[in-house]
Symmetry: C2
């Protein structure tokens, strides 16, 4: 790979740029972003070599899109219009169905690879980028068969060099599963933070009483609303289903407590302890 265009030079795009730079000698990285401050910062700290625009994309070998998913749905057709026949375009959105749908019949559909690297932190912007973000993480690729064979190969080589494992999935299944393992966690965390903040006006008390357990559960409440609102919008139906089940489980737990059925409370927790093994699975894989 000789050149890489990053559209969206925040945490995800910036980390991808850094990882790619560490893996490919003499790589030129060009940044595109609607936020001029981010673009300037990304250039200053060496994430990108220079700034570009959508009209340069005919020179692009690889384009990596890491912008909010509503912006991806809007821009992706234009991006595909602007590239050359040999350009590989990868997106990193947390929803896949709407994105795959919007370019389904685009004449350059085969230049596009729909991906979701399961990696991130609660921070955002170019300064949050780090070159190890993708190391050992899973990348979910959707509709791989719709991408040109040569470009599939190029993408897999790129992901492999930055240390990612690949899983294939259809966009519908992706959006359904990811609602459970990612989107619901974010809402749970945001609402936990909200519940606490409404109650505790004296923040000093929160500081002093909150331990690492609390910190762990509300960590995601620091996440960017600009990024998450469009995700919730695009994956609305799946998320509503998970939220309904989650609220029902909480309500049931509350009822057990109200009725002093603490043997049931105990059973609810014992049954869920098995998640520990699942989580260990995450860590060792």
């Amino acid at each position: 790979m000789k050149n890489l265009y990053i559209i969206g030079v925040g945490l995800i795009g910036g980390s991808f740029a850094k990882a790619a730079r560490a893996s490919f000698a003499n790589l030129r990285i060009i940044g595109i972003d609607s936020n001029p401050e981010h673009l300037k910062k990304a250039e200053e700290i060496g994430i990108i070599d220079h700034q570009g625009g959508l009209n340069d994309l005919s020179n692009a070998e690889v384009v990596f899109i890491a912008i909010p998913v509503d912006a991806t749905v809007k821009l992706l057709p234009e991006i595909l219009d602007a590239i050359s026949d040999d350009t590989l375009v990868i997106d990193a959105g947390s929803t896949k169905e709407s994105i795959c749908m919007v370019i389904k019949n685009h004449q350059r559909r085969r230049n596009f690879l729909a991906a979701h690297p399961i990696a991130g932190t609660e921070f955002s912007g170019p300064e949050a980028a780090n070159s190890d973000l993708y190391q050992g993480k899973t990348n979910i690729i959707c509709e791989v068969e719709a991408t040109a064979f040569k470009l599939q190969e190029k993408a897999l080589d790129l992901f492999s060099r930055i240390g990612m494992r690949i899983r294939y999935m259809n966009p519908k299944a992706h959006d359904k599963h990811i609602a459970y393992v990612s989107h619901l966690s974010h809402i749970s965390s945001f609402m936990l933070g909200k519940t606490l903040m409404e109650k505790e006006k004296n923040e000093r008390d929160i500081f002093d009483m909150a331990g690492s357990g609390f910190e762990s559960t509300v960590r995601l409440a620091k996440s960017s609303p600009e990024m998450w609102t469009p995700i919730f919008k695009q994956n609305k139906e799946n998320i509503l289903e998970t939220l309904e089940e989650y609220i029902a489980n909480l309500t049931r737990f509350k009822q057990f407590m109200e009725n002093d059925e603490f043997e049931q409370v105990y059973q609810e927790m014992t049954g869920t302890n098995r998640i520990g093994k699942i989580l260990n699975g995450i860590q060792i894989n």
Copy 2:
């Protein structure tokens, strides 16, 4: 301090023993536990020097109680009956009202210090113990004025040597606040784990799609039901209040999504982002 009796040699008691051993030369540590396996393991790995029983407590200089809170309520009067006039007894329970209540009129009330070290992990048992668990953490002391002055001093010296900061609070306020910053987080996490496990029968898919965000929010679902059920029972009213507010917030969020009020969804998250500053406060303090 020349000798320390640890009642309950699990994560909390074991870590306290290790921290104390690192801070006091020639300290003899005696373990008491209803679980003979834990006791044996704690002796094997050097957390305690030998095993003891409640009938030895007249020799105790300091007794540290780290057992489920229902067991503390039950045993604490007996423990106070068994000690000498100079013994300091400290408990580490996550609820304080029931515990302070049960010995309110005990003739040795002034030998007791009610504490809640805000420290822990999702693991349990003596093998989970580590000597740094309390370093830099907050210890909430309740009804300090009910403890004999000399024993207050002894306890403060001990906590200070193992690196803890002290905050004072009344038991009622403690139980109310801790419901928000600790107990609710645990329920939220358990029910998140449950919701996922009910849905995803193929665990392999969970492994591969779950990232660090999910792991962070469900970490507490690995916690011990033996420890948490009595906490939920003793702090029932406060927890029910937090659960009600949490469920109401989740329901409102769901309604915003159902009605396509994504501007409101955005506002909900923006308003909660401030928790980031509060969490940073935890880290730097």
